[in-house]
Symmetry: C2
Subunit: 138 residues, 2 copies
């Protein structure tokens, strides 16, 4: 497990100033496994989620469906440690390089992008590696 | 250059039915270089952009700023050939594996995620490899 990257207050202000949050106060965040390049998931961050991610090195998102701040893995234990934080050319998307503990997807798959068309059907091309019923049981 | 992947009409219908377009009729699309894993850009697709991408193998997006369908590289020549099309667990993001010709970013960098905090400053960590003034000159 890679040690998480954290940023000092002045650095966090610099990063936040470069982000163009949308009309809902959110920015799209792509999580990518830092060493393999695997795209794990896309979620959303508000200003507070960016701040907490950069300050603690534990990746936080804003849940649009639950309308709350969410530390990735807070229930499942499948956390994301921040490795590097990149902002795109027009500031409306961030690329979060992480070290994923366990799996990124709530279905128990390692990443969320497992649906693909094969032989005319939409099929899951990645295995379930953790039983989702066990991921969220306290 | 990899030959582009295309999908038959029934396959396109299957893929489109699995996408949860948002209130604006859009889905977030992450473009990733298929062989290196480099995350190139994030843009948006409407139903027509998905249809044209899957039918032709040339990646199309919906430009929110210009409110028009856009074939990647139509002006710059820096096209994206479709390699595989993945839909995420809840259908609101797609991962488009592509073979990028030239550069993905309008700044002339290979990808859009080049801003990072280094020594307290936000700096571009990727070089400009194509002069942007030359990319859009007809």
């Amino acid at each position: 497990m890679t040690a998480a990257t954290t940023y000092a207050e002045a650095e966090r202000k610099t990063a936040l100033a470069a982000i163009a949050f949308d009309r809902d106060g959110l920015v799209a965040a792509i999580a990518q496994q830092h060493d393999t390049g695997e795209v794990l998931m896309l979620a959303w961050m508000n200003r507070d989620a960016v701040e907490k991610t950069l300050a603690t090195g534990a990746v936080h998102y804003w849940s649009r469906s639950r309308a709350k701040l969410w530390r990735k893995g807070e229930e499942s234990g499948h956390t994301q440690a921040l490795v590097d934080f990149r902002i795109d050319c027009d500031g409306d998307t961030v690329l979060v390089l992480v070290d994923q503990v366990g799996v990124a997807c709530h279905t128990g798959r390692h990443n969320c992008f497992f649906n693909a068309v094969r032989d005319g059907k939409l099929v899951p091309i990645a295995p379930v590696v953790v039983d989702p019923a066990r991921m969220y049981r306290k």
